[in-house]
């Protein structure tokens, strides 16, 4: 190399053409067929080292020493009553055709329909609704059609329902079985004897099924509602029963009966009927249920402290109240000079304490109610300038805020409720442009986002 360098001769020319040659080779290698270059690169860029399926394995047959030919040969089947000869392809091994019955003959099964003799008919099987002729025809058809009663019913000469046919067939077979049996015990295990066909039940079942199938969506929803309601009532009744409160009359007419009625044919009990009494029961029974379940869980403990029991009962009683309400109850207790936790928790004391707490809850609820009603009243009295959508809440807010806003609004001689509400709107929605008419900014002490167009 160096010598050539020194001599000034160019470096071996081979590498360059070599590169050129190898590159196109590689290029064609790189370009896989069928998938894009990038996808191919995901697999690692090269073809897998080991082929997943050995191509040479495919289409390889075991070298068999037998000579196989296929011949078009006649055959007979034991399933056929005649001697008809049909032809088919047969795999012949070394010149020996296969032996044996036609391979599908074993699938030719049929039902064992019991056939009676005429004497037996006279003795056991006479029936006012069926003539011997009809019965014979029925049995013929049964045998022909392997007890496919739908088809039998179609082919039956006189008009009979499927249930009638079934009934006749099964009762006849049963009677024959029992009559022929040496002792009743032996046939007792036979399915026909054990479970007789019940016509009325079957008719009813099919009718109900078709009803359910043909129910409209509306019907379905109604039924679901009623069932849910019934379940709820049932559960609350269970809880009430556990409590065994003799004072509270637990209505027994509402409940499962209505659910059953709903699923019945045609006439459904309107859900309104069920819901109204249910709604009335629900709140009162929920309280009882709470109480009952607490008592039940306490009893389960087998030993507990009175203070613990009181805590549980208090919790149960305040379960529907929010944290703020609970705090208010406690505040009220303190104001009344009562210990939040009784110092001497005897049974009587605990009972009194619980009752007191419940009464305070009632008191607070009533206070809230009164507030509501008063606010409602004031909103009605003041009329409603576009406050129609205004709910009691908004008016109540207005009523509450009234005191602070009075100095601002009185000078305008407008109705406080109206203005204030609109201002509330503004305050709450900073992004919204105000739709109200002239509301001078000056009197309002709080900075407001107000458009110039307002003025």
């Amino acid at each position: 190399m160096d010598a050539k360098d020194i001599l000034g001769l160019p470096k071996t020319p081979l590498p360059i053409p070599q590169e050129k040659k190898s590159r196109p080779q590689k290029d064609s290698q790189r370009k896989p067929d069928g998938i894009s270059r990038e996808v191919y690169a995901l697999t690692g860029g090269v073809a897998p080292l080991m082929p997943s399926i050995d191509v040479s394995q495919l289409k390889r047959r075991p070298p068999s020493d037998e000579k196989i030919t296929w011949q078009w040969l006649p055959f007979t089947s034991s399933a056929r009553k005649d001697d008809l000869q049909l032809y088919h392809w047969v795999r012949v091994v070394n010149g020996v055709p296969p032996t044996g019955d036609y391979s599908f003959a074993k699938y030719n099964k049929s039902v064992d329909v019991i056939r009676y003799t005429d004497e037996e008919y006279e003795k056991y099987l006479t029936d006012p609704k069926w003539t011997k002729e009809e019965t014979d025809q029925l049995f013929d058809l049964c045998e022909r059609f392997d007890l496919r009663f739908i088809i039998i019913a179609d082919r039956f000469p006189t008009h009979r329902t499927v249930e009638e046919l079934k009934d006749r067939y099964y009762s006849v077979s049963r009677a024959i079985l029992v009559a022929r049996a040496p002792s009743p015990g032996e046939v007792a295990g036979h399915p026909l004897v054990k479970e007789p066909y019940n016509v009325t039940q079957e008719t009813e079942r099919k009718r109900a099924l078709s009803m359910v199938l043909s129910q409209t969506k509306h019907q379905e929803r109604k039924d679901a509602e009623v069932l849910a309601e019934a379940k709820r009532i049932d559960e609350s009744r269970m809880a009430a029963r556990a409590a065994e409160e003799p004072d509270l009359p637990v209505p027994s007419d509402v409940g499962p009966e209505s659910a059953e009625g709903a699923v019945g044919p045609g006439d459904t009990i309107s859900p309104a009927n069920v819901q109204a009494p249910a709604a009335a029961i629900a709140p009162s029974t929920s309280v009882i249920a709470d109480n009952a379940s607490t008592l039940a869980s306490l009893r389960m403990l087998r030993v507990y402290l009175r203070t613990y029991a009181l805590e549980q009962m208090v919790q149960a009683a305040s379960s529907s109240a929010g944290l703020r309400t609970i705090k208010r109850v406690e505040q009220t207790l303190q104001d009344l000079g009562v210990n939040l936790k009784p110092k001497v928790p005897t049974k009587a004391v605990c009972a009194e304490h619980l009752e007191l707490r419940k009464e305070i809850l009632t008191l607070l609820n009533l206070q809230k109610q009164l507030q509501y009603k008063e606010a409602e009243g004031s909103s009605f009295r003041d009329g409603s300038y576009g406050d129609m959508p205004g709910t009691a809440k908004r008016s109540q807010r207005a009523a509450d805020q009234d005191r602070t806003f009075v100095p601002d609004t009185i000078s305008f001689g407008v109705i406080p409720g109206d203005r204030v509400v609109k201002r509330e709107q503004k305050r709450k929605g900073p992004g919204r442009t105000s739709e109200t008419p002239s509301s001078p900014a000056g009197a309002h002490k709080r900075p407001r986002k107000m458009k110039a167009s307002d003025l």
């Binding site: 409590a243 065994e244 409160e245 003799p246 009952a292 008592l295 306490l298 009893r299 403990l301 087998r302 030993v303 507990y304 402290l305 009175r306 203070t307 029991a309 009220t332 207790l333 009344l336 000079g337 009562v338 210990n339 009784p342 110092k343 001497v344 928790p345 005897t346 049974k347 009587a348 004391v349 009194e352 304490h353 009752e355 007191l356 009464e359 305070i360 009632t362 008191l363 009533l366 206070q367 109610q369 009164l370 009603k373 008063e374 409602e376 009243g377 009605f380 009295r381 409603s384």
Partner: protein, 266 residues
């Protein structure tokens, strides 16, 4: 055998034998009370107890780590013997004590120690087999230092903190009921109709028995009195007030309703 404590302990002035009325929901009159079934349901027995501690400052004899001598205990609310129901009491002390789990096998159920720190003591009461198989836990915060920190600490007068509570047993066995029929430590319920108990038998020789009640306990002079009468009065007064308030509100509501009716938009 079961330790019966009957005639000797029956003090005539004990109010515990009073029969508190059971809530109607608890008494199922029609319930079967087979004599084969040992458990009587829907009857509860309550045992009023007081638990707490008394702590004496050791004054001159106090060291840095032993400044107080305290006793934690569980006693009957009227100082009756609790061993009729309690088999043993386990006091779980702070881990800095040696053998922090102290077991007391007989009445009086108490534990004395010396120390300087206040901590929570877990008291587990184990009951006799025919009473209840489950133990019950009580928690008491040991108090050594008086509330009023400015006052002088006295070696004569202990700091006493007690809590009143009642242990309620449901699912009672006949044998238990029979045993405690007339025991003053137990508030015996009114039995449902048809339940009769076998007469209780006194088996032990009275002289052999160790007194488990705390009537003459050295600390008994410091025990607090718990009277439910005061609390009941307080509660009754409060309830009256609340009920009056409720009535007033109801009147106001109906009044407002009436007023609103006139103005209701159609």
């Amino acid at each position: 055998m079961i330790d019966t404590s009957l005639s000797k302990k029956k003090d005539p002035d004990q109010p515990e034998i009073s029969l508190p009325t059971l809530k109607s929901q608890r008494t199922k009159m029609g319930k079967s009370e087979d004599s084969e079934k040992k458990k009587i349901k829907d009857v509860e027995i309550s045992v009023p107890i007081v638990y707490g501690n008394a702590a004496f400052w050791l004054g001159k004899k106090a060291s840095e780590y032993q400044s107080h001598r305290w006793t934690v205990y569980v006693r009957g609310a009227t100082n009756e013997d609790l061993s009729v129901v309690v088999k043993r009491a386990v006091f779980q002390l702070h881990s800095s004590f040696n053998n922090p789990t102290r077991v007391v096998e007989s009445a009086p159920f108490e534990l004395s120690e010396s120390g300087w720190g206040e901590f929570e003591i877990a008291i587990t009461l184990f009951f006799h087999n025919d009473v209840c198989e489950k133990p019950l836990n009580l928690y008491h915060h040991l108090k050594l230092y008086p509330e009023d920190e400015s006052g002088p600490m006295s070696t004569k007068k202990p700091v006493v903190v007690e809590s009143y509570d009642e242990v309620v047993f449901t699912e009672l066995s006949e044998s238990f009921l029979a045993r405690v029929q007339n025991h003053p430590a137990v508030t015996f319920p009114r039995l449902p109709a048809g339940v009769t108990l076998p007469p209780s038998v006194s088996t032990e020789d009275e002289s052999k028995k160790k007194r488990g009640d705390t009537k003459d306990h050295p600390l008994s002079q410091w025990f607090l009195n718990f009277s439910e009468a005061d609390e009941l009065l307080q509660l009754a007064a409060a309830r009256q007030q609340v009920q009056a308030h409720i009535a007033k509100l109801r009147r106001q509501i109906s009044l407002t309703d009436g007023q609103n009716q006139q103005f209701k938009p159609l």
